[in-house]
């Protein structure tokens, strides 16, 4: 299997044309292997958290604790729609399902950019950016969770801050891959006809254009794997409460105390899920 598609340009130079689409199948296979391997190796009750909520810690806490504000949920689901449209329009034609995909694809790409601009604004003004930062505690927590998952430790898995380390890592990898696809996608729009700006095929050399297509393809194929992994974790039994919180916005007090360290994700006593709209307690 070749990793790149190459061709000779009119000047006889060998230039990359894009990534080999066989890699898309490799990403699907890798995603399937990951899902099967994870499902077989990691028992469903090995997520972080205490078995029972502590009555002392629970005192004064509301029954429903806001985890994702309406704005955050709107971003997540808008981005989901844009991402699925992008993946369908990119890869279904390769499966032989033919339709005019180019215009839908770039419009969905612009939809994704708009959602990301909103997300950045929301994160900067309404959320605690530090909650997504990977720190020393996250590294220790990951190591302990891994030992428990691999049955190398009998300790109770540690509780996380607002976001568990695996969620943070997924966020950062997905951000990098998505930004890579967006930047190269915007450049590729200089090669197609649309009403936003004119075509300029002379913007880069053939080789640079080729590498832009390669990076776009790699990012697109990477997103196949990431989406498979994300959907898998979203439906795993011990993670479904997180998925529900992305729909309803809140988690109940017991979930909060079982899975989150109140010192790292501080929820004000008496504060209810309905009482605040920004989803950020600390």
């Amino acid at each position: 299997m070749d990793f790149l598609r190459r061709a000779l340009n009119p000047w006889g130079e060998e230039v990359p044309m894009g990534v080999s689409w066989d890699l898309a199948w490799a990403a699907v296979a890798l995603g399937a292997l990951f899902v099967i391997g994870h499902a077989l190796l990691i028992p469903k009750k090995t997520g972080g958290g205490k078995a029972d909520a502590d009555a002392e810690e629970a005192e004064g806490l509301p029954k429903k604790i806001l985890r994702h504000s309406l704005g955050a949920r709107a971003f997540h689901w808008s981005m989901t729609v844009a991402m699925f449209v992008l993946l369908i329009t990119a890869f279904f034609p390769l499966l032989g399902i033919r339709f005019p995909w180019v215009t839908i694809h770039w419009i969905a790409g612009f939809g994704l950019i708009l959602t990301l601009i909103y997300h950045i604004y929301h994160a900067l003004t309404k959320q605690d950016m530090g909650a997504m930062w990977i720190g020393r505690q996250d590294v220790d927590e990951t190591a302990k969770s891994l030992k428990v998952a691999l049955r190398a430790s009998e300790e109770e898995p540690p509780r996380s801050g607002k976001y568990p380390p695996d969620q943070k890592m997924f966020h950062h990898v997905a951000t990098g891959v998505t930004v890579g696809a967006i930047v190269t996608g915007l450049l590729m729009m200089f090669r197609i006809d649309h009403f936003l700006w004119g075509q300029n095929p002379y913007l880069f050399s053939d080789a640079v254009w080729g590498w832009i297509y390669v990076v776009h393809g790699v990012c697109g194929i990477g997103l196949i794997f990431l989406v498979i992994a994300h959907v898998y974790f979203a439906i795993r039994p011990e993670k479904r409460w997180m998925t529900w919180s992305m729909i309803h916005g809140w988690i109940d007090r017991d979930r909060y105390l079982q899975n989150h360290d109140p010192k790292r994700w501080v929820v004000a006593r008496g504060e209810t899920a309905e009482g605040r709209g920004d989803g950020q307690s600390s």
Partner: protein, 333 residues
């Protein structure tokens, strides 16, 4: 890069005697196989060494793909390997479908029409010279259209239907078949599928590497013409740089259903202006309920070019298409 034009690279030659064998061979060789009909498009590709299939399936020995017979519903059933000469000289075609006879008669030269087939004329590849020079354009699997850059030579390219690629469909018979509402019968190992001619040709927005729905393993076997309508009027015109042996710059094929001097229905199709034969729905709407005169022709012509976009060197095609459509309504007989 020097092009050696005297020798064709080697390939395995298969000469099946029946459609079943041909389809099995095409399925076996898939995208490494090549269908050889009249050979007129094929040998250019092979001699230029741009297409190098491992296997060539020659349809020349399949009798069931030749000939013109009465269709089940009063129409005609034409084998894909029927020569263009046979088609244009056939009495039934000339009397009942003069549009198709005229389109076939205007293909290239008598020698080419003797050798060329209806199926080959329909399924031939575009003549874009950037693509046929073997450059890695979108249609060849690359990521650029060399004909759509600011400095391209694109006098013959499209003004409608572009999507990254701006090549045009070169077939003369294709617009006539779309105007006549023909059906294309395609066979593969799964069986037969029938497509309306209008759906048989596809644009680069659907698949940039192909001009028809035919995929590796598919074989166009027959073309079915519906029974002609009483009172139908036809018009076909092909514009080219010289009077013979040339591809069209633009062509129009029109069928008008006229009753009591009023156009009840119309099918207006142009080719050479888009990557596929374009049925002009707006022009058809513009003439329904009107007399087939110059006024209606002008309305149809104006509607035809709405949305047309010229490249650097082909803005003449807009006026050309407008006038072709106008004449086709006014002069249909």
């Amino acid at each position: 890069m020097a092009v050696i034009r005297d020798m064709i690279p080697p390939f395995e030659l298969y000469q099946p005697a029946g459609v079943g064998d041909a389809v099995r061979l095409l399925n076996e060789h898939a995208d490494r196989g090549w269908v050889l009909a009249g050979g007129l498009d094929t040998f250019d590709w092979f001699k230029d060494r741009i297409k190098r299939p491992a296997a060539v399936i020659d349809l020349g020995g399949i009798d069931e793909l030749r000939g013109i017979a009465a269709g089940p519903d009063g129409g005609l059933d034409i084998g894909a390997m029927t020569s263009l000469t046979e088609l244009s000289e056939n009495g039934d075609v000339r009397s009942r479908y003069p549009l198709l006879a005229e389109a076939a008669e205007l293909v290239a030269t008598p020698q080419i029409r003797n050798q060329g087939t209806l199926g080959g004329n329909i399924a031939q590849d575009t003549r874009c010279w950037y693509y046929r020079s073997g450059w890695p354009c979108y249609r060849a699997g690359g990521n650029i259209c060399y004909a759509a850059t600011p400095r391209s030579m694109n006098r013959e390219h499209c003004i409608l239907g572009a999507s990254r690629c701006v090549a045009v469909n070169p077939s003369d018979t294709a617009p006539a078949l779309v105007a006549l509402d023909a059906q294309m019968v395609v066979a593969n190992v799964s069986g037969e599928t029938t497509y309306a001619a209008e759906d048989f040709f596809i644009g680069p927005d659907i698949d940039i590497t192909r001009m028809t729905v035919l995929e590796p393993g598919d074989l166009l076997t027959r073309i079915r013409l519906p029974a002609p309508q009483a009172g139908a009027r036809y018009y076909f015109e092909k514009i080219r740089d010289r009077k013979s042996w040339d591809f069209s710059l633009a062509s129009v094929a029109t069928v008008l259903d006229v009753e009591a001097g009023v156009i009840r229905d119309a099918r207006v199709v142009v080719n050479g202006v888009a990557p596929y034969p374009v049925r002009l729905g707006a022009s058809e709407v513009a003439v329904r309920g009107r007399s087939p005169d110059d006024e209606a022709g002008q309305a149809a012509g104006a509607a035809a070019v709405a949305g047309a976009r010229a490249l650097r060197h082909n803005d003449y095609k807009i006026a050309l298409m407008r006038n072709l459509v106008r004449r086709s309504i006014r002069d249909a007989a």
